[in-house]
Structures are given as C-alpha cells and as structure tokens.
C-alpha cells in the first residue's frame, strides 16, 4: 500500500468518498519509491524476471535433469544409444527401469576411482600452488599506488584475454625435451641431458596454475584492497612485528578471498580436459578426459552421464561454499 505512505489520512478520507475508486486510482499513479513501486505494482516486473529465468531453467537446469535421467538408463546400440526409462510393457503397464549398473560400474572399476582421486589431487595441488604465487602478487598490487594498481591489474588480466589454448601451447614449446628450458639449461651447463618435463604431473600443475592464475589473484586483490589500514597501524603501534601483523591481522581478514580464489581454481580444475590432454601423463587420465572418451570414443552415453553426475556430487559442497561467499560479497557491497 505505497500510496498510503505519503498521505495516509487524506487518502483514506478521499477513498471513502463518492469519487473513492477514481481517487485511489490517481494515488496509484502518484510516484512512490521506485524500488517499492517496482516490487508491488509494476506489471513488467514478472516479465523482466521471466526472461533470464526461463533461459537458465531451459538451458542450465533441465540439461542436468536429462543427464541425471540418462545416467540411469541402459546402453543400447541405437540412436540415441540408451534405453528409455519409461516403456510400454504392454497390457496398460508402464515399466520404469532404473538401472543403477552404471554407478556400480564406476565404483567397482579401478580406472574410474583412481582417476577421480587423481583429479582431486591434481586440482588441490594446483590450487595450492596458485595461491602460493597469487597471494604475494595480490598483496603487492593492493599495496602499490593507485596508478600502478591499474597497470598491474591490467597486466594480470591481459593474458586471460588471449587464447587459453595458445597459452597452454606455449608451454609445450618451453617444456619439451628439445624445448626452450632444456636448451637454455644445457647451454649454460646446469644439466647435461634434457629433463623430461612433458607428460608429467609437473607439466599439468604448470598448465593449470598458468591458466587459472588471474582467477586466484582477482578475488584476493578485491579482498586485500578493502583492508582497513588503521588496523595494521594499530598492531604496529602495539609493538607487533611485520610478520606477526601479517599472520594475525592480514591473513585472517583475507580468508574469504583465499577460499573464493582456491575454489575458483579447484572446482573447474577437477574436470579439466584440455590441459592434461596436451601436457599430462598418458598412463593416468583425469576424470574430464575419461568423461569425454566415454562419450566420444566409446559412445557410452549412460556411463558418461554417470561420470558427470558423480563429479557433480563430489563438487556440490565446494560449489555451495563458493555461492555463499559470492552472495555475501555482493550483499556486503551495499
């Protein structure tokens, strides 16, 4: 009842008169607060909400339900290569077949379990290395003068705008046996024979850290930049040494940034497909590669779907933590 907020007594008296309905209408046309008006009256509001909502429902949520459904079907040699869940079994009976075999298969076959564990390990180590490189950088950027800050931030983001694939490709040239790093090390006499760096875990770590570094630095910077300098001064005045100040004030305050950055690297890295395909081992595949192979090479859609659902379940908790942090950040800016 926003019209009553402005002139409650008047509007009540007028509304009770003979011209009441007309006057109420007029008051409705009078301007209340914008946001309140939009919330309570504007008919376009539902329409505006509906457009992005329907798009995301159709193209983001429904696809997961389909994957979920197919993960319970049986594989068939047909197009599409899976059996429907609902089938006319004749005599007015609808048979629902829930095939849990795909999940049982995942959990019993060593290949899947070991590649899940391997993916989580690679993603966790990469996220940690990213933090190790990204934190000092974010901290240094936040401490620099405003003019330099802009330049440094631009330098952090700039590689991100160039092609991701080409940046991974650059590392092939550096890491190969006859690549730049080995050539340089041999030329200055540090090593005699080339070190094998391609198709190792090390190469995958490098690739992931390199590609995801901006995702670590940006949330950390956003957090560190907001820190209250007077807190640091107060700690220094009370006699704390720089290291103590960092460990007792800066580090605890930057925890939301650390968690956000680590999750932004860890979650997508678990399902990483391109980097391990180009730089990684061939004897131990990551789960993203397994999923793609099941789908494209084996044409086993139900198993590929079960792999996807399993990965999603595994990542559900980190994704929810990330959403909470993200929402709190957005609310806190108000």
């Amino acid at each position: 009842m926003s019209e009553d907020r402005h002139y409650p007594a008047l509007s009540a008296r007028l509304a009770s008169g003979r011209l009441g309905p007309l006057l109420t209408l007029l008051f409705r046309l009078a301007p209340p607060r914008w946001s309140e008006y939009v919330l309570t009256h504007w008919t376009g509001k539902k329409f505006v909400i509906a457009i992005p909502y329907l798009w995301l429902l159709l193209f983001f949520l429904v696809p997961f339900l389909i994957v979920f459904k197919i993960s319970f079907s049986e594989t068939r040699i047909a197009m599409p290569p899976y059996a429907p869940l609902l089938e006319w079994a004749g005599h007015q009976v609808v048979a629902i077949r829930l095939n849990l075999g795909n999940y049982a298969f995942l959990l019993t076959d060593d290949l899947y379990v070991s590649s899940y564990l391997y993916s989580v390990k690679v993603a966790a180590i990469s996220a940690f290395l990213c933090l190790l490189i990204g934190y000092p950088m974010a901290w240094a950027i936040a401490r620099s003068t405003p003019a330099w800050r802009g330049i440094f931030l631009m330098l952090v983001i700039l590689p991100f705008w160039t092609s991701f694939l080409l940046r991974v490709y650059a590392w092939i040239g550096l890491l190969k046996s006859n690549g730049v790093i080995n050539n340089v090390l041999m030329a200055i006499g540090v090593i005699d024979a080339p070190i094998t760096m391609m198709q190792t875990d090390f190469a995958v770590y490098i690739g992931i850290v390199y590609s995801y570094l901006p995702f670590m630095i940006l949330p950390l910077y956003a957090n560190l930049e907001k820190h209250d300098q007077t807190l640091l001064e107060a700690a220094a005045d009370l006699g704390a040494r720089p290291l103590t100040i960092f460990l007792r004030v800066t580090l605890p305050l930057s925890m939301p940034g650390i968690v956000a950055g680590v999750l932004l690297v860890f979650i997508p890295a678990v399902g990483e497909y391109v980097i391990p395909s180009l730089l990684g081992r061939t004897d131990q595949l990551m789960i993203g590669r397994i999923l793609a192979d099941e789908f494209f090479s084996n044409r086993d859609w139900p198993v590929a779907s079960a792999v996807a659902i399993f990965m999603l379940v595994l990542l559900m908790l980190p994704i929810m933590v990330f959403q909470r942090i993200q929402n709190r950040e957005l609310e806190a800016q108000r």
């Binding site: 209340p32 914008w34 939009v38 919330l39 504007w42 376009g44 909400i49 457009i51 992005p52 909502y53 995301l56 193209f59 983001f60 949520l61 696809p63 389909i66 994957v67 197919i70 990204g134 000092p136 950088m137 240094a140 330098l155 590689p159 705008w161 092609s163 991701f164 694939l165 080409l166 940046r167 490709y169 590392w171 092939i172 040239g173 690549g179 390199y210 570094l213 979650i267 997508p268 678990v270 399902g271 497909y273 391109v274 993203g288 999923l291 793609a292 789908f295 996807a308 990542l315 980190p318 994704i319 990330f322 959403q323 993200q326 929402n327 950040e329 957005l330 609310e331 800016q333 108000r334």
Partner: protein, 280 residues
C-alpha cells in the same frame, strides 16, 4: 623497506611467469626453422609463418566463424545477464530468487565437460521432442556459450548495481518517470561500463571456448580453438605461433585502448557531476 623488496620480487616473479611463455611464442613466430624451438639464426627473422597462416583457408574460415559466434554470444549474453543482474540486485526478495542466484553463480565454476555434455544431451532430447534445433550447428554453439557467458555478465552487472544505492532511480520516479523510462534513462547509463566490460568478457569466453564447443558443434561448425586443438594433437606447428602473436597484439592494443577510453569516460562523468553540483 623489506616489504617493498618482497612485493617487488613477488610481482617480478609472477609477471615473468605470466609473460615469458607469451614472449617465447612471439619470438619463435619469426623463426625460420620448422623445429619450433630451435632458433635458426641464419634465415631468421622471417615472416613465412604469417604468410602460411594467411593462406590457410581452414584457419581463416574457422576464425571468422568464431568471431561471428562470439559477437552473437556477447550480445545476447549482455541482454540476459543485465536483466538477471538487475533482478538480483534491485527486485528484492521474490519466489525463486535463490534458484536464480544459484543458476547464475554455478556456471562460473562448473567444469566444462559437464556443461558440454549436458547441453549436448539437451539439444538431442529437444530435437527428438520438438524437431528443433536441427542437428548441431553454429546456433547450438551460440546457445551453449550464451548460457555460461551470461553468468559472468550477471555477476559484473550485479556487483556494479550493488555499488549504487537506488536514490537516483527514486528521484526519477518522484519526478514522474515510468519504471521502464527510469531504467533506460538512469539505471542503464549508470551500469554502462559494467555492460561494456561484460560484453568483452562474454566475447572472449566464447572466442576462447574449446570443450563446450567440441560437444555441441556440428560437422560444419568447427570454431578456431577446435581447429587449433586438432592441429596441436598432430604436433606443434609454427604458424600457430604466428596466430598467437597476432592475437596478443590485437588484445594488447584493445585492452590499452579500452582502458584509456574508460578513463576518459570516467573523467567526463566526474566533470559533469561537478558541474551539476555547482549549478545547484
């Protein structure tokens, strides 16, 4: 003093890590040798890989297709993302808000193989049920790209809107403007920088995407990353270095130019608001 040393070396090491690989690609793009990493001092520098690149019809065609898909993606994602950001930042609580905010943050971290697989299975199911979309094409790639790119636009617009309070919009309402007019005359100009950077980000995300495209692209719709990826699997080839160099150059010019333009825009706005304040 020690703090400055630590921050200086952190930045030096970090930026060296970020830029040495890119620089090595630029340098080796002028190398004459077919062996990508061995510098042929006699015949280099040479532009022959650039020549090879520009006579490669397949790469040029794929690049043009990627540009078209990226531009289309960015434009649709900006509209949808702006609406979603506006709804989340300004429309207060409504039924289903949590689901909407979940659906706009989840794509930010969702592993690409999962998104790709689920989109493809959706398109196949839709084709069976509705007969649309017919097969996999540039259209399905664009729809898939819009869906994950709009999440980024939403976050940018939402955080920009969260930075302003709604007093300007309220004032416009008090002066008698209708909601739609308030949006186009007040809200939209305020968030224009966010929309511009959202468009560029969406363009880059689409232009860069390999995994999702591989799932949802059809036989005739190979994007540039898909062509490069299949080239790379056959072995490294130096014309990819030339391509990388061109891209780095375009991006560097674009980013520097863009940020100069943004700074000018900001200065002008500051001046205008000062003028407006002095008029009062």
């Amino acid at each position: 003093m020690r703090g400055r040393f630590i921050s200086g070396s952190a930045l030096f090491i970090g930026f060296a890590f970020l830029y040495v690989p890119i620089l090595s690609m630029v340098v080796f793009s002028f190398n004459n040798s077919r062996l990508v990493t061995v510098w042929d001092a006699q015949n280099s520098p040479t532009l022959k890989w650039y020549h090879a690149l520009f006579s490669n019809e397949q790469i040029l065609g794929a690049a043009w297709l990627s540009i078209k898909i990226a531009a289309m993606t960015a434009s649709v994602a900006v509209v949808l993302g702006t609406l979603a950001g506006l709804v989340l930042a300004r429309f207060g609580p409504f039924r289903g808000r949590t689901l909407l905010s979940g659906m706009t943050t989840a794509p930010l971290v969702m592993p690409e193989v999962i998104t790709g697989l689920s989109m493809l299975l959706l398109f196949i199911a839709m084709e069976q049920l509705l007969g649309w979309p017919e097969g996999r094409s540039a259209l399905t790639v664009t729809i898939a790209h819009v869906t994950f790119a709009m999440a980024y636009v939403t976050v940018i617009v939402q955080s920009q809107l969260a930075g302003f309070d709604d007093s300007l919009e309220e004032a416009a309402m008090d002066l008698g403007a209708r909601p739609a007019r308030v949006f186009f005359r007040i809200t939209l100009p305020l968030i224009l920088p966010a929309i511009a950077s959202g468009w560029l980000l969406a363009f880059t995300l689409s232009w860069d995407d390999l995994v999702i495209s591989q799932f949802v692209a059809g036989p005739g719709s190979s994007t540039l990353p898909m062509v490069i990826f299949s080239k790379m699997r056959l072995g490294v080839s130096p014309d990819v270095n030339a391509l990388a160099t061109i891209l780095v150059l375009i991006v560097a010019l674009g980013v520097v130019g863009g940020s100069l333009w943004m700074r000018r825009l900001e200065k002008r706005r500051e001046r205008e608001s000062q003028l407006a304040a002095s008029d009062l």
